[in-house]
Amino acid sequence: MSEEATRDRFGEALLQLAREDKNVVALDCDLGRSTRSFHITQADENRFLEMGISEQDMISTAAGMAHEGKIVFANTFAVFATGRCFDQIRQQLSLARLNVKVCGSSAGLTQGPDGATHQAVLDVSLMRTLPNMVVIVPADGPQTEAAVRAAYEHQGPVYLRLSRYNCKNIYKEGYAHDIYKAVELKEGQDVAIVVCGPILGHALEAADLLEKDGVSAGVINIPVIKPLDTEGVMKAAEKYPVLVVVEEHSVYGGLGSAVAETVAEMKVIDKAIVAREGIKDDFGESGTAAELLDKHELDAEGIAKKVMRNI
């Protein structure tokens, strides 16, 4: 099974779009070679704008370009892309409904050694509160390619969460699903692991580990956190007695919250218990990606433990 980071496929997909459409442009805050937005220069160096270390200026500049018909991919690390310029995103993208794709790179704990200051663990929550914002957390290369295209095709602001973590490609090339729909990758009976992002491979391995312990666990991947596939979630909540939502993000406001809110409001008695598992009201710290996933129980063994505690 091949491995890659979602940021790498993002760069390739962005370049492909730029070749197809001259209105696609990319802005970056001194991280273009890391976020891979710099790839766009292979199509046209004039369509990459180095904004320097000024995220607020970047978002407002992106808004101005979008007003003139450009499809703008605004890039930097996820922690800065969502936190440092939240007000610009709120006023000039979300409220104004301008066509800018905020691309948050190196998201989550797997950012690794740089530690808590650089690890975005609140970004999905922040972006999910914004009206008109689509929030996508792709899990692997093929899903990232589909996510970038979906972001491009959506007329309006999008938050695309990307990662530097080398993860297993789960999906086949040419992602065959509707990105806005939940995908049940593995069927089970006792519990379903609901997951987004590059820890999807770990969730699938966890299901294999659980099977050895006699627990039949399904795995459901939800790449679009907003608008949530509520139908898919409700179907899962009726099928499984327990949904354990795992994400490389705070348990406040991310996928776990979105799923819990949906299930809580279901007007049926017989529905799943939802457990939110992720980063529990905490920041990350320095360490390797593997060490941090182990500490927060987001690797295969960790996810299996989380599931066992919740059934």
Binding site: N46, L49, D57, S60, A63, G64, H67, R90
Partner: protein, 278 residues
């Protein structure tokens, strides 16, 4: 400028001030101070300098206007209604529930509004974005930005100022409405912004200072920018609340409701004598 043209512009400014007063009325809180101080600046831009009209409102090469100090958008509303972008009746419904005219500029609700502002400091960056897009498309037009003096305390303005000169965006002309007061007091005492010419020049801009209520001076300064191969800033010295003596030159009128008496007095002050009306 010919005397006749100047007289026409001065009449426009009078009309705008009077319309502002009618729109605001008495007993309702509005951003009087900053709306009144920028009347001549916007008059010079919309009725003298800018390549903009109702017929051109969708033309890709129209000049763009960005009200970065979004709370002063009522002045722009009056002008847009004069240009026919929406019926003047809308002015009376400003800030009412469901109104086309919001408290701060909304590009989706109000025809002729080009930039979402209100939270301060974002307009110049947005103007840079318009300029970058125009450059890629090979379109040639000017982008005019009006900023407040208090707004210059916002760090993003200076990020944007760097971006403008770094990318040699020479078709941006910014005007600072230097009325001296912000919400809670005098700008220089709240957080000093001067010396402005030195600041802007060191950021790579051409800077001039004018009397912001003298239409011939503003127009001349705008015309001079035609021959300058740099981003240009015009520092327009104005009086906050200009035209309504009960609030002129104070921060009290920043966001204020006129009493009935103040309103009547203001109507007298700003009334356009018979014979001067168009």
């Amino acid at each position: 400028m010919e005397e006749k043209q100047l007289a026409i512009l001065e009449a426009k400014a009078k009309e705008i001030r009077f319309e502002l007063l009618q729109m605001f009325g008495s007993g309702k809180t509005h951003h009087f101070g900053g709306s009144l101080s920028c009347v001549e600046i916007l008059t010079a831009l919309y009725f003298y300098k800018m390549n903009y009209s109702f017929e051109q409102k969708d033309s890709p090469t129209r000049d763009r206007f960005i009200m970065s100090k979004g709370h002063s958008v009522p002045t722009q509303y009056v002008i847009l209604s004069m240009l026919g972008l929406f019926p003047p009746e809308e002015l009376r419904k400003i800030k009412q529930l469901g109104a086309m005219l919001q408290g701060h500029p909304d590009i989706n609700k109000t025809p002729g509004i080009e930039a979402p502002t209100g939270s301060l400091g974002q307009g110049l960056s947005y103007a840079n974005g318009i300029a970058m897009a125009a450059r890629l498309d090979g379109n040639d037009f000017n982008i005019y930005v009006v900023m407040g003096d208090g707004e210059l305390q916002s760090g993003q303005v200076w990020e944007a100022a760097m971006t403008t000169s770094h990318y040699r965006i020479n078709n941006i002309r910014a005007v600072i409405d230097l009325n001296g007061y912000q919400s809670q007091g005098c700008v220089q005492e709240s957080l000093a912004i001067e010396p402005l010419e030195e600041k802007w020049r060191s950021f790579g801009w051409h800077a001039t200072r004018v009397n912001g209520h003298d239409l011939s001076e503003i127009c001349r300064a705008l015309d001079e920018t035609d021959n300058i191969d740099k981003p240009c800033i015009i520092i327009a010295e104005t009086v906050k609340g200009k035209g309504i003596s009960s609030i002129e030159g104070t921060f009290r009128g920043h966001n204020y409701a006129l009493t009935e008496e103040e309103y009547k007095d203001a109507c007298d002050e700003l009334a356009i004598p018979n014979g001067e009306q168009e």
